[in-house]
């Protein structure tokens, strides 16, 4: 990399975006209005019942459940980048680890909420704790989602601690409540060697802990489907299939966030072309693994074409879901995979655009996993209106899903406005700045 940066420059560069509020309010306003519309949708749904959605007795899971898998999937990237790659000692993730962790926190929290939107009786949510049954995958899911959110928040908060003294010293003109937050979250940090030892060890423990929890959260999510005897869901590879797909979705989301933050926060010196190039290569690897699982998931039943499987596979390959199926497979996986093989496509702007395609593809891929299976019940849908087998989400479902997406982005935005988007102390370490120099830092 280029010549060494001074501590002063690092602190100034990373705290400046927190002070600069240009466009910030407008963006928040935009997110809040999207959420407001979603809230209107939810109120409609609460007053009229789930009948206000396009769901039916046959297609009884739709956009909310697809959205739920998408949210859990996107949240999983925190584990891969800040935990797995971090533990392996890979250095280039330092400036983007916190971005990944932010996405994990924001999306995991809304994953928990979106499930509530799908419930016919959200006011009975507590029944899950009062009458919870161990044998239900939903109980497992609730448990691991909550654990993942907790560990993700801790993994976000702990590395913030050594940054707090810098914030306290530089953000002198910040409002009182903000300074109070900085004080509380510094937990008496003075930067002693003992404290460094403790914090590094704690982060390491959490980083190890989150790996099985993250694997569990998405495996269990896949089991919501795989544990039922339905064609299209009844698959033994659903766990790893979901997990690898999740990394692709989350990786692309991180790529988009990297672009947005490096541009709006003026951090091109920190998140460089090198980082986009590395993320692009990582995505190639992840997409190759995901492609491998896709081949297994569709070619194996597609080769045999057993009764029941045939209807499902033909529906996806050439039937009325074919357009969506091939769009997400080609635009959301195969094409990005090929494009990312070229160095020019791993430059920031093309990488960001390709990543948008991956994320949109990832969202609709979850829809393709959830809905078409339900369109083919084992017994024909006799004596019910023909519409019972035809589903496309209506405005209520779209508005509520948009609220969830805007809500997750809102969490990311606000946290990125309260605290530096990169760990100052870790960036400083990379530049060869010692702990003593950091402790003596004055504006």
């Amino acid at each position: 990399m280029s010549e060494k940066k001074s501590l002063n420059k690092i602190v100034t560069d990373l705290t400046k975006p927190i002070k600069n509020h240009r466009w910030f309010m407008l963006w928040i306003l935009f997110l809040l209005s999207v959420m407001g519309f979603g809230l209107f949708g939810w109120i409609t749904q609460l007053t009229e019942g789930l009948g206000s959605t396009a769901l039916t007795d046959y297609i009884s899971w739709g956009l909310y459940i697809s959205g739920f898998i998408f949210f859990v999937a996107t949240a999983l990237i925190g584990m891969l980048i800040s935990s797995v790659l971090g533990l392996l000692g890979i250095k280039w993730i330092t400036p983007i680890a916190r971005i990944a962790e932010l996405i994990a926190v924001g999306f995991a929290m809304w994953a928990g909420l979106i499930i509530v939107f799908d419930m016919g009786r959200p006011e009975r949510l507590l029944n899950v704790f009062i009458h919870g049954r161990l044998q239900s995958p939903i109980t497992w899911d609730v448990t691991v989602v909550m654990t993942y959110v907790t560990i993700s928040i801790l993994l976000y908060l702990l590395p913030l601690i050594p940054d707090m003294p810098f914030l306290k010293k530089t953000m002198t003109d910040a409002p009182k409540w903000k300074q109070k937050i900085y004080s509380i979250l510094s937990f008496g940090w003075v930067g002693s060697p003992e404290q460094y030892k403790i914090i590094k060890r704690s982060i390491k423990v959490l980083a190890v802990l989150i790996i099985p929890v993250a694997l569990a959260i998405h495996t269990v999510t896949s089991w919501l489907f795989a544990m039922t005897p339905r064609i299209g869901w009844d698959s033994t590879i659903f766990g790893p299939y979901y997990v690898t797909g999740a990394f692709v979705a989350g990786g692309a989301a991180v790529m988009i966030a990297m672009y947005v933050f490096s541009r709006t926060y003026n951090l091109k010196e920190y998140i460089t072309d090198f980082h986009f190039d590395k993320m692009g290569k990582l995505l190639v690897l992840l997409m190759l693994v995901y492609l491998y699982f896709n081949i297994n998931e569709y070619i194996v039943p597609g080769y045999k074409m057993k009764q029941g499987d045939d209807i499902h596979i033909l529906n996806l390959f050439v039937g009325h879901n074919a357009k969506l199926f091939w769009s997400v497979q080609i635009c959301g996986m195969i094409l990005p995979l090929i494009l990312f093989l070229f160095k020019r496509m791993r430059k920031p702007l093309p990488a960001m655009i390709i990543s948008i395609a991956i994320v949109i593809g990832a969202f609709f891929k979850r829809y393709i996993i959830t809905v078409p299976t339900l369109e083919h019940p084992a017994f024909p849908a006799d004596n019910v209106p023909a519409e019972y087998l035809i589903y496309w989400p209506n405005w209520v479902e779209w508005s509520i899903t948009m609220m969830a997406i805007a809500g997750a982005i809102l969490i990311v935005t606000i946290l990125a406005k309260l605290f530096p988007i990169m760990p100052i102390w870790e960036v400083a370490h990379e530049e060869g700045i010692t702990n003593e120099e950091m402790n003596e830092f004055e504006v």
């Binding site: 016919g120 005897p229 339905r230 019940p377 209106p385």
Partner: protein, 325 residues
Amino acid sequence: MKIKKQLEQKDNNTKNTRREFLKKGVLAGVGTILAGGIVTSFNATASGKTVNVLGPDGKVKTVAKEHLKDIGKKTEAQLQKAGREGIPNRRWVMVIDLGKCKNDQRCMEACQTHHQLWTSKDGKGDKVQHHINVHELKRNEKSGGFFMPKTCQHCDNPPCTKVCPVDATYKRDDGIVLIDNLRCIGCRFCVAACPYSARVFNWHNPKDEEKYADKKYNVELNVPQKRGTVTKCVFSADRLREGELPYCVSACGNGVFWFGDENEDAVTNGTTKETVRLSKLLKDNAAYTLMPELATRPRVYYLPEKDRIFPFESKKKEGDVNHHA
């Protein structure tokens, strides 16, 4: 119905004491009929609301409404408890004779009426709910079509109860799978898990919600229906408790349904009321269960449609797909 029956009983049996008679809950009102009440006093009270009751002497008397006391009726808590416990020493079982079904759909109508379900005749016909549905199927291209009434299969290894996060749907000792609409959170995991598509959801406000507003919830009837919860065939557990056959079984005019107790090894035909040995009926008629490959072990048996007593007339248009038989 009940009142008429008991009035006849009164004519036949004049020995009934007044107390016993009132206990049976015979109350005839002008325009209102209250079953299951007892008169605690004949004095009129301040509210002025009165009810006409038929006394033991055969004369109609006017009494204050407050003085009617409910007897012989279970509280909601008692109903919930009984609904969890089931009917002792019974193992309910249903046998459906496919050779006799001509798609009259009287079973479906009776079921929808008693379980407060939306039918195609209500509203714009966009809300239809079935606990029992009659399918039109074909085993393969060359074999003839047939009609198949399909209820909840009340599996002994139910995929639906396993996935319920709150124990709202459960399997009872008497073999029935029930759903508690007061506990259900509406996640619809059981709907997704049921391979027979036997479960339906209350997407909208239940039919005639106002009419059922003061009714106590009976888990064995799934009535009053609750919006945002799952509902399903309960083998008419409320009827079984009174020693009667399920609504669909009694409604059939073609002798399709046999219903009974596996422990007694006896089933009764809903139309002819003939009672036969269950084991012999199953053995002699090549009985089978639906989707045995899933090992759900249904409590509903089917007798193949060989020797149909009605000619089969398809109601389906060309190109409709039959997925399973």
